[in-house]
Symmetry: C2
């Protein structure tokens, strides 16, 4: 069950296919991101609300965690090597934090498409509503993304392992602005060749 | 042997311990980076000289190469998913491109040191001489760095496999500004607990 009897959801946000949404979290509040139909990657970014030059940074996370896998208990470290959130619960067990957001150049260079929706722009638009539209979009954590690495260090992108209703839960350690995009890649296995909705719930601090 | 009888070295640059150095390369020119004493990581960045908002980007390389290992023949892709250089020769076979540059925050937060030399600042200083000091320092390619990954996705940083005289060779595909720092971490196996010099050679285009 996603929610315990005790916890209070103060906001619920649907992220439609091919879009991004943001939210503001206070310290102690939790964010639940639910894969409603399954197999849908969510590109996730997080800024320190009080100093948006500080943001969750996958490259620094890989250093601080000595790992390229994400697991409950891990902190989401910033570009200043401080934890801004904690990854507290996960019903899937497979996520990515070494792959970039899909962007204009991906669809233009690799598919010859000028106007394909993409996570970079979805995130940028969502962040704009929180006054962060002029910041660079950081590298994302790609929730539910299933990169299968071989022992040589090469990998293939497989369909996500997430089933309908699977979720992750993160706790804010500081006041943060987060944004999440339904990964807009519909021509590859990354989202099972189909882009669907995600749901975010914000749980009040105890 | 590093250099063939035919090739002409137009410039040779020593990167002293705890420092960075930059260079400008024209298309077709090659850059050889030599680990003079062995076990020395070089943090390497590369900008499009004609538009420094474009730079070699490890996160985009990992996507374009479907890999987290670097091997001869690989292109060094930019944040616009275009190749700026090619990785043409390698006598070591083990490098990193998922780890961040060491920086002020690394030594401050993890070692309590305010003034330790670090690759981020070394690179920034080297880039300043090429008019790029106001650009963010991109994530580096960590030449000779030896991260040993287990099958869970966790890793340990081991001493580099490079012996004295080992080298890599890169070819510029566009006009680029590159910079390389002798990784300044002297309290961990990453450089064999000792920071030593690297040498760069720039080879004229045929």
């Amino acid at each position: 069950m996603v929610n315990s009897a005790q916890e209070r959801i103060r906001e619920e946000i649907i992220i439609p296919p091919y879009e991004g949404r943001g939210a503001l979290l206070k310290p102690g509040e939790e964010l639940i991101i639910i894969d409603m139909e399954g197999k849908q990657v969510g590109d996730f970014v997080c800024f320190n609300r009080n100093d948006p030059k500080e943001f969750v940074s996958p490259v620094h996370m890989r250093a601080s965690l000595s790992s390229i896998r994400l697991k409950p208990g891990d902190a989401l470290y910033s570009n200043r090597r401080r934890p801004l959130m904690t990854f507290v619960e996960d019903t899937v067990g497979k996520h990515d934090f070494f792959f970039p957001a899909c962007d204009y150049y991906r669809y233009k260079n690799d598919f010859g498409m000028e106007d394909h929706p993409n996570c970079h722009d979805n995130l940028n638009k969502a962040l704009r509503e929180f006054g962060l539209g002029n910041e660079s979009v950081p590298d994302p954590i790609n929730l539910f993304m299933n990169n299968v690495l071989d022992d040589q260090g090469d990998y293939e992108i497989h369909e996500p392992l997430s089933k309908p209703g699977d979720y992750v839960r993160l706790r804010a350690l500081e006041e943060v602005v987060i944004a999440c995009s339904t990964c807009s890649q519909d021509m590859a296995p990354v989202n099972g060749f189909k882009v669907t909705s995600l749901k975010m719930q914000i749980v009040e601090a105890n």
